[in-house]
């Protein structure tokens, strides 16, 4: 119960005044602590964006090179080899040249992208099919989607599908790069021709 305290004529601080100031300092400390937590989470999100931007740069770079005549035909990302996607070949479980799988493996092991980490889990950067704001485990993950144009007259110009290992890359692809924020929701990084 709050009872107004009598007014001392000196204007000096009472015990409850001092207690209130201490309480106010604690509250400010709490806000600062929570603010700094938010800031650190925000920094992780920024790092996630930098990961996405690194992938965008790689796609832009590789997309420009791989269609050139002098690009090595035996490179896993080369568009020159037609993929053999017969059921028997797929069953063997070996990497199929001319598909996204070997190209991705090359990017993850031999390019500058190999050192990228998911700042939220501190593990190697992981690829997921899509971001989901209800799934916090996806924070910091990367989503690579192929944008396929829809027939003329369709209400949406593109249909997006996650890039799978067996997707052929013997043609020019329109790729969308997305990363998942701290809540698992998507942050669009960019679109590039690969």
């Amino acid at each position: 119960m709050d009872i107004p305290h009598p007014t001392p004529s000196t204007g000096a601080m009472t015990g409850s005044d001092k207690l209130f100031i201490v309480f106010l300092i604690l509250i400010l400390g709490l806000v600062t602590w929570l603010g700094s937590m938010n800031y650190h989470e925000g920094q992780k999100e920024e790092e996630t964006k930098r990961n996405g931007e690194a992938w965008l740069a790689w796609f832009t770079d590789m997309g420009g090179k791989r269609h050139a005549d002098d690009f090595p035909a035996d490179h896993p990302c080369s568009p020159q080899s037609k993929p053999d996607l017969s059921p028997a070949h797929i069953k063997e479980g070996k990497p199929i040249t001319g598909t996204w799988g070997p190209c991705l493996a090359q990017a993850m092991t031999e390019s500058s992208l190999k050192d990228l980490k998911n700042p939220f889990s501190q593990q190697a950067l992981n690829l997921v099919e899509s971001c989901d704001a209800k799934n916090h485990k996806l924070s910091g993950s990367l989503v690579l989607e192929e944008m396929s144009p829809t027939p003329a007259g369709s209400p949406v110009p593109f249909v997006n599908s996650s890039l799978a290992d067996l997707d052929p890359i013997d043609h020019k692809l329109q790729v969308r790069i997305t990363v998942c924020n701290k809540g698992g929701g998507p942050i669009r990084i960019g679109e590039v021709e690969f």
Binding site: M1, D2, I3, P4, H5, T7, P8, S9, T10, G11, M13, T14, S16, D17, F20, F23, L24, I27, L28, V31, T32, L34, G35, S36, M37, N38, Y39, G42, Q43, E45, E46, K49, A133, K134, H136, K182, G183, G185, I187, R188
Partner: protein, 540 residues
Amino acid sequence: MSKQYIKDIDVNELLGHQKANIAHDLPRRKWLYSWLLDPNIPGNFQTDVDKWIGILIVLNLFSLVFEHVPAVYEPNQGLFHAFDVFSVAVFTIEYLTRWYLAPEDEEFKGKSSPRVAFMLSPFAIIDFLAVAPFYFQAFIPIDLRMLRFLRLLRILKLFRIIIPAIHEFRELNQGRTFRQKMHALVFPSDFGGKLHQIFDVFIAIWVLLSVASVVLESIQSLDYILHLQFIILDAIAVGVFTVELFLRIYSCVEDPQYQDRVAPRLGYVKSGSAIIDILAVTPFFLEVFLHHLFDLRFLRVFRLARLLKLTRYNDATEILIKVVVREWPVMSASAFIMMLLVVMTASLGYLFEHDAQPDKFENIPQSIYWAVITLASVGYGDISPVTPVGRFMTIILALLGIGIFAIPAALLSSAFSDQLVKERDTLKANLFSMLKDGELDENEIILLRNEAKRLHLTVEELNQLIDQIIKEHDVNTREIPLVKVAEQPELAVEHYKQLLGEIRRLGLLTDHHRFDEAAQQGYRLAPQDLTIWKQIQGKS
């Protein structure tokens, strides 16, 4: 306490529109000081100079913050530089003006060398430091970081506004408790002074900043580059609003409104303004603690509730709430009829259209959307009746809807204007009771000023109101006992003028020759009195 006679009230002065009374023939320096910097002359430009310099300082602070965001700074380097040059030019002109006018300033007037005394004063040193690095960099290479840090010193210029306000606040609150002082700082009272106004402006700036950041955050491209800045801004805003909230809760017990309650703080926490304050900070704490459990993005929208904090500084909201509460019985009846009409329309729509359009009028709840859109005359057209009976029914119901849906709007608008008239009548009644003695004391003048501002009365309206009261007051003055009239010289003069007027009127109406005869007959009027009569009539 000084009193003002009703006929002497200057409405312009009362509403703060007064013109400075500065003689034209003053020496040039004195004249300039009086117009620009003298804090003791009401109506001069001193407040405006302080206000605009204050705004420029705050803008400088923002510019400095944004210079650290490469995505904003790099494409707009030219603009940032131009703004810096402009700021330095303004601050330099201000510094030189203050230096030139220092001999007129009360603070330095008595010194042997007023301008040197000015240059060595703390405020002048701050002013100098605010501009000096800009000029030094032309001669000495200064590190960009150091230069930015030195520019941060410009914030210190705000002390020129804050320190006098703190001194005034201290004087007003001498001998008062800490809690009373906090109350004076955060709640409007006679003890708040300018510091309370600065506090209000500070909170209002943070409200606008944080709401702007919530709105801008929703623009993906902006959030992408300024995400961390938005986080910092939100944390600072929450810090400011939390301190404000607890200061209000702690000191509310000093408010007469809550003093008589059993649990005054609980009473305050349950008030509308406190609930808004709590809503303004809650999303921040909930989001940090609970974001692992739920998707709490919807809470971010609640940060926009901070805008409601501004209603504290706007009386129109209070009037609107009063109106809604007063008209609630009629409005609820109208809402009931609206609801009835919506359900009936939806049911009829379902009855006549379900067979023809089963996908659009699938059931009655789904038809409610169509009913509301039709009755409210919105008419999106995504669902429309196709059967002849359905169309006929729609014509009737749409016409009915125009009338029924317009009732609450009409009710509100007429009640709102009624309330304004009522409040003006109350002001008139108050003014009339204040003027029973023909005078206004200082408190009554403050009350009148505040009420006139609250009701947004113009100078003409207030003049009209005062004229009306003077007329009514003149009629009633006759009823004031002569002893009371005699106590107040201004009223006594007015009364004397009134009596003289009566005598002159009598002189105009009567036959002077017969009047003189009658006066002299039987010594009815003493010779001195007759002489005075003739003097008044202008015949002596």
